[in-house]
Protein backbone atom coordinates (compact mmCIF):
# COMPACT_ATOMS: atom_id res chain seq x y z
CA UNK A 1 0.00 0.00 0.00
CA UNK A 2 1.40 3.34 -1.02
CA UNK A 3 1.41 6.02 1.59
CA UNK A 4 -0.37 9.19 0.57
CA UNK A 5 1.89 11.82 -0.92
CA UNK A 6 1.09 14.29 1.85
CA UNK A 7 2.57 12.23 4.66
CA UNK A 8 5.52 11.32 2.47
CA UNK A 9 6.37 14.96 1.94
CA UNK A 10 5.82 15.83 5.57
CA UNK A 11 8.07 12.93 6.47
CA UNK A 12 10.79 14.45 4.38
CA UNK A 13 10.56 17.64 6.37
CA UNK A 14 8.96 19.84 3.77
CA UNK A 15 5.37 19.80 4.87
CA UNK A 16 2.87 20.65 2.18
CA UNK A 17 0.41 22.17 4.64
CA UNK A 18 2.81 24.37 6.58
CA UNK A 19 5.04 25.44 3.71
CA UNK A 20 3.92 28.66 2.09
CA UNK A 21 5.45 29.58 -1.25
CA UNK A 22 8.69 31.37 -0.31
CA UNK A 23 8.84 35.10 -0.83
CA UNK A 24 11.36 36.43 -3.40
CA UNK A 25 13.60 37.86 -0.68
CA UNK A 26 14.01 34.38 0.76
CA UNK A 27 14.72 32.92 -2.65
CA UNK A 28 17.72 35.27 -2.88
CA UNK A 29 18.95 33.88 0.45
CA UNK A 30 18.61 30.32 -0.88
CA UNK A 31 20.43 31.29 -4.07
CA UNK A 32 23.32 32.77 -2.07
CA UNK A 33 23.47 29.73 0.21
CA UNK A 34 23.47 27.47 -2.85
CA UNK A 35 26.35 29.46 -4.34
CA UNK A 36 28.28 29.08 -1.09
CA UNK A 37 27.57 25.34 -1.21
CA UNK A 38 28.93 25.18 -4.75
CA UNK A 39 32.11 26.90 -3.53
CA UNK A 40 32.50 24.49 -0.60
CA UNK A 41 31.81 21.43 -2.78
CA UNK A 42 34.51 22.54 -5.20
CA UNK A 43 37.14 23.65 -2.69
CA UNK A 44 36.58 20.64 -0.42
CA UNK A 45 36.98 18.43 -3.53
CA UNK A 46 34.16 16.14 -2.35
CA UNK A 47 32.90 16.35 -5.95
CA UNK A 48 36.01 14.65 -7.29
CA UNK A 49 35.88 11.06 -8.57
CA UNK A 50 39.51 10.77 -7.44
CA UNK A 51 38.63 11.76 -3.85
CA UNK A 52 35.69 9.31 -3.81
CA UNK A 53 37.98 6.51 -4.99
CA UNK A 54 40.54 7.46 -2.34
CA UNK A 55 37.76 7.24 0.25
CA UNK A 56 36.44 3.84 -0.90
CA UNK A 57 40.03 2.54 -0.91
CA UNK A 58 40.44 3.80 2.69
CA UNK A 59 43.70 5.47 1.68
CA UNK A 60 43.17 8.91 3.13
CA UNK A 61 41.51 10.34 6.19
CA UNK A 62 40.42 13.42 4.27
CA UNK A 63 36.89 12.44 3.15
CA UNK A 64 36.13 10.83 6.50
CA UNK A 65 37.40 13.94 8.27
CA UNK A 66 35.19 16.14 6.09
CA UNK A 67 32.03 14.04 6.46
CA UNK A 68 32.65 13.41 10.18
CA UNK A 69 33.30 17.04 11.08
CA UNK A 70 30.31 18.11 8.94
CA UNK A 71 28.05 15.76 10.94
CA UNK A 72 29.48 16.93 14.29
CA UNK A 73 29.04 20.59 13.34
CA UNK A 74 25.49 20.01 12.11
CA UNK A 75 24.61 17.91 15.19
CA UNK A 76 25.83 20.57 17.61
CA UNK A 77 23.94 23.27 15.69
CA UNK A 78 20.74 21.21 15.59
CA UNK A 79 21.01 20.48 19.33
CA UNK A 80 21.41 24.19 20.10
CA UNK A 81 18.46 25.08 17.84
CA UNK A 82 16.26 22.44 19.51
CA UNK A 83 17.25 23.47 23.04
CA UNK A 84 16.67 27.18 22.46
CA UNK A 85 13.40 26.61 20.56
CA UNK A 86 14.63 29.05 17.97
CA UNK A 87 12.31 30.47 15.33
CA UNK A 88 13.39 30.80 11.72
CA UNK A 89 13.88 34.20 10.10
CA UNK A 90 10.65 33.46 8.21
CA UNK A 91 8.89 33.26 11.60
CA UNK A 92 8.23 29.52 11.79
CA UNK A 93 9.13 27.45 14.78
CA UNK A 94 12.02 25.28 13.62
CA UNK A 95 11.06 21.61 13.57
CA UNK A 96 12.71 18.54 12.13
CA UNK A 97 10.11 15.86 11.45
CA UNK A 98 11.69 12.43 12.04
CA UNK A 99 11.98 10.04 9.10
CA UNK A 100 9.68 7.03 9.27
CA UNK A 101 11.63 3.80 9.71
CA UNK A 102 8.89 1.44 8.56
CA UNK A 103 10.44 -1.88 7.66
CA UNK A 104 13.65 -0.07 6.78
CA UNK A 105 13.97 -1.80 3.41
CA UNK A 106 13.96 1.43 1.46
CA UNK A 107 16.95 2.73 3.41
CA UNK A 108 19.03 -0.44 3.11
CA UNK A 109 18.23 -1.25 -0.53
CA UNK A 110 17.87 2.32 -1.79
CA UNK A 111 21.03 3.30 0.07
CA UNK A 112 23.01 0.46 -1.49
CA UNK A 113 21.76 1.31 -4.99
CA UNK A 114 22.71 4.95 -4.38
CA UNK A 115 26.16 3.82 -3.18
CA UNK A 116 26.76 1.94 -6.43
CA UNK A 117 25.94 5.07 -8.38
CA UNK A 118 28.02 7.24 -6.04
CA UNK A 119 31.16 5.19 -6.71
CA UNK A 120 30.53 4.83 -10.47
CA UNK A 121 29.89 8.52 -11.13
CA UNK A 122 32.21 9.61 -8.32
CA UNK A 123 29.49 12.09 -7.45
CA UNK A 124 26.52 12.56 -5.16
CA UNK A 125 23.54 14.53 -6.54
CA UNK A 126 24.93 17.91 -5.43
CA UNK A 127 28.29 17.07 -6.97
CA UNK A 128 26.69 16.20 -10.32
CA UNK A 129 25.59 19.81 -10.62
CA UNK A 130 28.80 21.28 -9.20
CA UNK A 131 30.79 19.18 -11.69
CA UNK A 132 28.91 20.79 -14.56
CA UNK A 133 29.95 24.12 -13.07
CA UNK A 134 33.50 22.80 -12.93
CA UNK A 135 33.43 22.23 -16.67
CA UNK A 136 32.77 18.47 -16.74
CA UNK A 137 29.98 19.11 -19.22
CA UNK A 138 29.23 15.42 -19.88
CA UNK A 139 27.69 15.34 -16.38
CA UNK A 140 24.64 16.97 -17.97
CA UNK A 141 23.93 13.44 -19.25
CA UNK A 142 24.39 12.02 -15.73
CA UNK A 143 21.88 14.56 -14.39
CA UNK A 144 19.34 13.63 -17.08
CA UNK A 145 19.94 9.99 -16.21
CA UNK A 146 19.51 10.71 -12.49
CA UNK A 147 16.19 12.43 -13.19
CA UNK A 148 15.19 9.41 -15.28
CA UNK A 149 16.19 7.11 -12.39
CA UNK A 150 14.07 9.16 -10.02
CA UNK A 151 11.13 9.00 -12.42
CA UNK A 152 11.43 5.23 -12.76
CA UNK A 153 11.47 4.95 -8.96
CA UNK A 154 8.33 7.09 -8.72
CA UNK A 155 6.66 4.93 -11.35
CA UNK A 156 7.67 1.62 -9.67
CA UNK A 157 7.09 2.92 -6.15
CA UNK A 158 3.72 1.21 -5.50
CA UNK A 159 5.33 -2.16 -6.29
CA UNK A 160 8.58 -1.71 -4.34
CA UNK A 161 9.01 -2.83 -0.72
CA UNK A 162 9.63 0.02 1.68
Amino acid sequence: MTKPIQSEIVGRGVGICDAPEPRPSYLIAYLLLGMAFGVVMTRSEVLSWFRIQEMFHFQSFRMYGIIGSAIVTAAISVAIIKRTGLKSVSGERISIPPKQLGRGIRYAVGGTIFGLGWALTGACPGALFALIGNGVSVMVVAVVSAVAGTWVYGWMRPKLPH
Partner: protein, 188 residues
Protein backbone atom coordinates in the same frame (compact mmCIF):
# COMPACT_ATOMS: atom_id res chain seq x y z
CA UNK B 1 42.79 35.26 -0.55
CA UNK B 2 43.65 34.18 -4.07
CA UNK B 3 45.36 30.99 -2.92
CA UNK B 4 42.47 30.37 -0.53
CA UNK B 5 40.13 30.26 -3.49
CA UNK B 6 42.38 28.30 -5.81
CA UNK B 7 43.61 25.53 -3.53
CA UNK B 8 41.78 22.75 -1.77
CA UNK B 9 40.69 23.50 1.78
CA UNK B 10 41.88 21.26 4.62
CA UNK B 11 39.26 18.80 5.90
CA UNK B 12 38.84 20.63 9.22
CA UNK B 13 37.78 23.76 7.33
CA UNK B 14 35.71 22.11 4.58
CA UNK B 15 33.83 19.70 6.88
CA UNK B 16 32.48 22.20 9.43
CA UNK B 17 31.54 24.58 6.59
CA UNK B 18 29.54 21.79 4.92
CA UNK B 19 27.85 21.02 8.24
CA UNK B 20 26.79 24.64 8.69
CA UNK B 21 24.38 24.39 5.75
CA UNK B 22 22.05 22.38 7.99
CA UNK B 23 21.48 25.15 10.61
CA UNK B 24 21.70 27.88 7.95
CA UNK B 25 18.70 26.49 6.03
CA UNK B 26 16.78 25.79 9.22
CA UNK B 27 17.35 29.32 10.49
CA UNK B 28 16.53 31.06 7.21
CA UNK B 29 13.27 29.25 6.47
CA UNK B 30 12.87 26.04 8.50
CA UNK B 31 14.16 24.06 5.51
CA UNK B 32 15.84 20.67 5.57
CA UNK B 33 19.19 20.42 3.84
CA UNK B 34 18.94 17.77 1.11
CA UNK B 35 19.85 17.93 -2.56
CA UNK B 36 18.21 14.81 -4.00
CA UNK B 37 14.64 16.09 -3.42
CA UNK B 38 15.38 18.33 -6.40
CA UNK B 39 15.49 15.32 -8.72
CA UNK B 40 11.91 14.60 -7.64
CA UNK B 41 10.90 18.24 -8.10
CA UNK B 42 12.36 18.16 -11.62
CA UNK B 43 10.24 15.08 -12.40
CA UNK B 44 7.21 16.90 -11.01
CA UNK B 45 7.89 19.81 -13.37
CA UNK B 46 8.51 17.62 -16.43
CA UNK B 47 5.66 15.12 -16.00
CA UNK B 48 3.06 16.67 -13.71
CA UNK B 49 0.17 14.47 -12.74
CA UNK B 50 1.20 11.27 -14.49
CA UNK B 51 2.69 9.46 -11.50
CA UNK B 52 1.32 9.87 -7.98
CA UNK B 53 4.82 10.36 -6.51
CA UNK B 54 5.26 13.51 -8.60
CA UNK B 55 1.75 14.92 -8.08
CA UNK B 56 2.28 17.87 -5.74
CA UNK B 57 2.82 21.61 -5.88
CA UNK B 58 6.56 21.74 -6.60
CA UNK B 59 6.61 25.53 -6.34
CA UNK B 60 5.39 25.46 -2.77
CA UNK B 61 7.44 22.45 -1.71
CA UNK B 62 10.57 22.66 -3.76
CA UNK B 63 11.12 26.03 -5.40
CA UNK B 64 13.50 27.12 -2.63
CA UNK B 65 15.59 23.97 -3.11
CA UNK B 66 15.70 24.33 -6.90
CA UNK B 67 16.90 27.90 -6.43
CA UNK B 68 19.52 26.58 -3.98
CA UNK B 69 20.58 24.06 -6.65
CA UNK B 70 20.86 26.84 -9.23
CA UNK B 71 23.16 28.57 -6.78
CA UNK B 72 25.32 25.44 -6.55
CA UNK B 73 25.81 25.56 -10.31
CA UNK B 74 26.68 29.28 -10.29
CA UNK B 75 28.92 29.04 -7.23
CA UNK B 76 30.92 26.14 -8.59
CA UNK B 77 31.54 27.98 -11.87
CA UNK B 78 32.94 30.90 -9.88
CA UNK B 79 35.62 28.85 -8.18
CA UNK B 80 36.04 25.97 -10.65
CA UNK B 81 39.44 24.35 -10.49
CA UNK B 82 41.54 26.47 -12.81
CA UNK B 83 43.53 25.14 -15.72
CA UNK B 84 43.32 21.79 -17.46
CA UNK B 85 46.52 20.67 -15.73
CA UNK B 86 45.15 20.98 -12.19
CA UNK B 87 45.45 17.71 -10.32
CA UNK B 88 43.59 16.60 -7.21
CA UNK B 89 46.26 15.72 -4.65
CA UNK B 90 45.09 12.20 -3.87
CA UNK B 91 47.30 9.86 -1.88
CA UNK B 92 50.11 8.10 -3.69
CA UNK B 93 48.62 4.70 -2.86
CA UNK B 94 45.33 5.57 -4.55
CA UNK B 95 47.17 6.97 -7.54
CA UNK B 96 49.12 3.74 -7.89
CA UNK B 97 46.00 1.60 -7.45
CA UNK B 98 44.15 3.62 -10.10
CA UNK B 99 47.02 3.57 -12.56
CA UNK B 100 47.19 -0.20 -12.19
CA UNK B 101 43.52 -0.24 -13.19
CA UNK B 102 44.36 1.81 -16.24
CA UNK B 103 43.75 5.45 -15.24
CA UNK B 104 46.64 7.47 -16.67
CA UNK B 105 45.30 11.01 -16.84
CA UNK B 106 45.12 12.49 -13.34
CA UNK B 107 44.33 16.05 -14.39
CA UNK B 108 40.99 17.65 -13.54
CA UNK B 109 38.39 16.76 -10.90
CA UNK B 110 37.22 13.61 -12.73
CA UNK B 111 39.24 11.34 -15.05
CA UNK B 112 38.93 12.36 -18.69
CA UNK B 113 39.24 8.68 -19.63
CA UNK B 114 35.75 8.10 -18.18
CA UNK B 115 33.96 11.46 -18.09
CA UNK B 116 34.22 12.82 -21.57
CA UNK B 117 31.78 13.16 -24.46
CA UNK B 118 34.17 11.13 -26.65
CA UNK B 119 33.93 8.04 -24.44
CA UNK B 120 30.26 8.39 -23.44
CA UNK B 121 29.20 5.58 -25.76
CA UNK B 122 32.01 3.22 -24.80
CA UNK B 123 31.15 0.66 -22.10
CA UNK B 124 33.21 2.39 -19.40
CA UNK B 125 31.88 5.86 -20.25
CA UNK B 126 28.28 4.69 -20.46
CA UNK B 127 28.43 2.79 -17.16
CA UNK B 128 30.18 5.66 -15.36
CA UNK B 129 27.88 8.43 -16.59
CA UNK B 130 24.55 6.98 -17.71
CA UNK B 131 24.21 3.88 -15.50
CA UNK B 132 25.89 5.61 -12.56
CA UNK B 133 23.64 8.65 -12.89
CA UNK B 134 20.54 6.47 -13.12
CA UNK B 135 21.52 4.58 -9.94
CA UNK B 136 22.19 7.87 -8.11
CA UNK B 137 18.69 9.08 -9.00
CA UNK B 138 16.87 5.81 -8.40
CA UNK B 139 18.77 4.99 -5.20
CA UNK B 140 18.52 8.40 -3.56
CA UNK B 141 14.78 8.59 -4.25
CA UNK B 142 14.21 5.05 -2.99
CA UNK B 143 16.28 5.78 0.14
CA UNK B 144 14.57 9.15 0.57
CA UNK B 145 17.80 11.11 0.60
CA UNK B 146 21.44 11.24 -0.43
CA UNK B 147 24.71 12.21 1.19
CA UNK B 148 23.37 15.61 2.21
CA UNK B 149 19.93 14.51 3.41
CA UNK B 150 20.92 11.27 5.14
CA UNK B 151 24.66 11.40 5.88
CA UNK B 152 24.74 15.00 7.09
CA UNK B 153 21.19 16.18 7.99
CA UNK B 154 19.92 12.77 9.14
CA UNK B 155 22.92 11.58 11.13
CA UNK B 156 23.24 15.02 12.76
CA UNK B 157 19.69 14.47 14.04
CA UNK B 158 20.58 10.92 15.21
CA UNK B 159 18.06 9.22 12.94
CA UNK B 160 18.23 5.43 12.60
CA UNK B 161 16.82 5.41 9.02
CA UNK B 162 19.68 7.67 7.96
CA UNK B 163 22.26 5.42 9.62
CA UNK B 164 20.88 2.42 7.70
CA UNK B 165 20.96 4.46 4.48
CA UNK B 166 24.56 5.60 5.05
CA UNK B 167 25.69 2.02 5.73
CA UNK B 168 23.98 1.16 2.44
CA UNK B 169 25.85 4.00 0.69
CA UNK B 170 29.14 2.41 1.74
CA UNK B 171 28.09 -1.17 0.98
CA UNK B 172 27.13 -0.09 -2.55
CA UNK B 173 30.17 2.16 -2.97
CA UNK B 174 32.60 -0.53 -1.87
CA UNK B 175 30.89 -3.13 -4.07
CA UNK B 176 31.23 -0.87 -7.11
CA UNK B 177 34.83 0.01 -6.22
CA UNK B 178 36.03 -3.56 -5.75
CA UNK B 179 33.74 -5.64 -7.97
CA UNK B 180 32.69 -3.38 -10.84
CA UNK B 181 35.36 -0.77 -11.48
CA UNK B 182 38.31 -3.20 -11.88
CA UNK B 183 36.46 -5.00 -14.69
CA UNK B 184 35.10 -1.82 -16.17
CA UNK B 185 38.54 -0.20 -16.31
CA UNK B 186 40.37 -3.40 -17.20
CA UNK B 187 40.13 -2.63 -20.89
CA UNK B 188 41.74 0.81 -20.65
Amino acid sequence: MTTWFSNEWPWYVAGPLLGLFVPALLIVGNKQFGISSNLRHLCSIITPGKVEFFRYDWRRVGLWNLVFLGGVLIGSVQVAHGGAGHEIAISLKTRLALSKLGIHDFSGVAPHELFNWHVLLTLRGFVSVVVGGFLVGFGSSYAGGCTSGHAISGLANFELPSLIAVIGFFVGGLAATYFILPYLLGGL
